[in-house]
Symmetry: D2
């Protein structure tokens, strides 16, 4: 189909019969061809979730109008986007560069659909790598005194740059509850443990002390409740008695960058839907 | 829904717009509520695949009539079944019991939806375990001379017992092309290597000789082309230089039984659809 | 070597120069040939750990005398055993049979070096499977009132049967601190979570509630501090949003039995050494 | 130990009693303290392998003299190095930068002990990233006509730069048998399949065509026999029916870079020993 666009619709709503038929009807009436789709009804929460990719010759805006009417009937939360459209993303970092380097490399060479609007660091350490990949670097130091001003500066950037997604790529500051609220559902953090184990500070030291045989990392949406946000992705790697805390950190970095990149990819492909404080991931 | 049944419909057909809408329309007109569904269109083969679980108060047979009409319009291959209905299964074995024991245990205690119609062995070794789990054991020895008669006996069992699925749980005989053809799509084999590596005999000895660092197992549908049937599931486990061929075999058995059980579960839940010589697995 | 025995020596002691030389000297003077060995010095705890397999024509008892002298000089904790000698094992269960069935099958068919002295259940449910595999089954019910008497009965069994290892194969009772102390280092438990996450009761329900993307199991030595004993082995498996608590339990059982069997194998092969509240595992 | 050095000795020789005692005796006489050690005797090949890390105040060169005498007695192949000494490494690439970027990042930030003497590309594409990380880039194009000259240029670089290890980080040219011979044991390649499956060209297309459920990567020493060299490390990742060949390639790149980095780390830490056409890896 030469003039077709490839769109992705994702939605959630209270479950009742007929949703898929209604939605696919709206798509079919516009000649849409479904290429991939997944649905799930959660009997615990009574919510229904759907993600559908559709090829159509109808412009996205017209389809949006059709869907608006439908969304009202079913009390849907929904989004319609073009498949593969890079999402405007702000990456926040401190001093460790493994996640940042990985995201920038994947965006350039592996089709990770992010358009890096900028990199914000509370230290200068990672300016060079950001700029090497063509991403503007903003140093916004944070102290107890300047935290409020720093967050205001950050929000100004988010707005002026049209940021859709903020990624905390080993950013070692805690966002204020107000900021968490304001950016709700739009901030992904990577925590360097297999949550809920080893919350808070120095998880690798905690893991070493406990003598676990696997260490992990967790990507989650940021909420005001630290390390308690909805989990998007987790993975682990094997460690052994020989491994010092430093060795755990080095091995863990591999997991961190892989898990974060996976979560960012799924989010930008509209595969992650909120289900209370959990997520539905149509991987 | 007190009087509802939970049905699973799986289908494949040439891809064209409107399939999902048409199918879900047929379900919606009968008041069906979709609980889980996945679809996939393969641009390589031009085929469309769909699996949908639906809760409905309409009897399965009535829904089947609705679907028959639809199936004609879209040239569908399809099946409709009750979710969780145990499938009549014949398990074939030789001397090693790890896969058989595992399948029987899962059927009894872990909800693997198979109804073991019988166990066929070409040796007597595994009679006791079959009978412990209440499965009738049939010893059908096979030699070059008796192979044809043995296969006839097997087919007679398949028919008299109403067998829907045959599982080769480390059955060390090769089925004749005629039998493969006759049971096409209804026989799952576990091969003790990560195919296409190490086809044929003694895969663990081959793996040891090559010095690989992971060994695996492959569950696939049986076709006349040995070890070349459509793959349903594979997995691997790590091995080391200390591991003898015997150690590889012991480690590999864990992977074999896990992979086979997973493949059988997916098959009986109608999650596996043929896509040429590959499979679509709606896991 | 036709008349040789294959022995395994494992030891730990305060670290200082010359240990390996002294130990291998004692072995060399007896014509011993080392087939596999691992050593590790932990700079945190100042302890040194060693495991060595040796082929020798000298009887085990003579070698023991040589080692006793050495052990005094270096303040060693040590053991000498025959490679592959089955360890006298008591398995304790409640109602779920996946771990028990797995251990019994592996002991019979896969060379797991345990000699099952008996199976103790606080319910009758698993008598049949124990007896199928030839293991005497003892039902010792436990209530708050009978707990003390039940533990006395258990200890009497441990002593009369010459039990070297007790395996809690999903035994749903908590051992008293006194019993934990008495059997210190000789009891392995499988906990159905990836510790330290989800300690205590109903870990799969906890995992479902938190929305984790992997679930796990942990085999550890039992201490008076519940779920805090030294970890021997852990593993995880992937779960998804579709998975109910029951589905987590079914998927988790696969991990539980695999992790427990691995821990038991390593323990019986003298590969696990205590390093404070952590373990050294010479896998 | 303030003036101590931390050394690593690795060796292999025909197996016979007394090797460990003799080696550790040489170390003990110099006051060496063993921090980590592993040994293995292969009954198939009759070879014995040993790797030992030792802290000592004696200079490396003196210890080497002691070992030379011993090595003669036991017909050892051996090496003695400082723990953590970066190995002079030449990285060869074509156009895909995932492995190169990863190795350079790990060398800078994660303690991968390589000292990148230079990067050789047969295209200019990766000059920028090499130079960003401070590695001199040499473009040596290769055509059928210039292959001999190109290899001569490469060998000149290897010699002038004091290169100890050559890493083919997705270098898409085949080295001549003569060059393979000359650099024997000093060249590591990453092949983008789980060998021995899918040798040769376009492994991801082959994997897609076969419908496998896992794809992998293999790091191996380069020999004149293409894709048949001794395997150092392998790993896999899960793929699904939705994955196009391009998706397999993207997913596979993660495995490639992880497997290659692991193999390079083990090689530079002297953990990999040749055992015929297989390897012993003291991980």
């Amino acid at each position: 189909m030469s003039d077709s666009t490839h769109l992705v619709l994702s939605l959630s709503c209270p479950d009742k019969p007929g949703i898929v038929h209604a939605v696919t009807g709206a798509l079919a009436r516009r000649g849409g061809n479904i290429t991939e789709s997944k649905q799930f009804g959660d009997s615990d929460t009574g919510l229904f979730f759907m993600r559908v990719q559709v090829e159509t010759t109808v412009p996205r805006l017209e389809l949006e109008k059709d869907l608006e009417a439908l969304a009202g009937d079913y009390a849907m939360e929904w989004s319609l986007d073009e498949v593969g459209r890079p999402m405007r993303t702000l990456i926040m970092v401190s001093k460790e560069g493994h996640c940042l380097t990985d995201l920038l490399f994947r965006a350039r060479s592996q089709g990770l659909p992010i358009d890096v609007a900028g990199v914000v660091g509370n230290h200068e350490d990672l300016r060079a790598v950001a700029e090497f990949y063509g991403a503007p670097f903003h140093c916004i130091p944070v102290t107890r005194e300047t935290k409020e001003a720093a967050e205001a500066e950050l929000m100004a950037l988010v707005e002026s740059l049209g940021v859709e997604l903020v990624v905390l790529a080993r950013y070692m500051q805690i966002l204020s509850p107000a900021l968490c609220e304001r950016l709700h559902g739009g901030v992904i953090n990577i925590h360097h443990s297999f949550l809920p184990s080893f919350k808070g500070a120095r998880p690798y030291a905690q893991a070493h002390e406990r003598g676990v045989k696997l260490i992990g990392a967790t990507a989650h949406y940021v909420t005001a409740d630290l390390d308690e946000g909805p989990i998007i992705e987790q993975d682990v790697t094997r460690v052994a008695h020989e491994d010092s805390v430093a060795a755990l950190r080095a091995k863990g970095q591999d997991v961190e960058r892989r898990v974060l990149a996976q979560a960012v990819r799924w989010h930008t492909e509209h595969r992650v839907l909120m289900n209370g404080h959990r997520t539905v991931v149509f991987a």
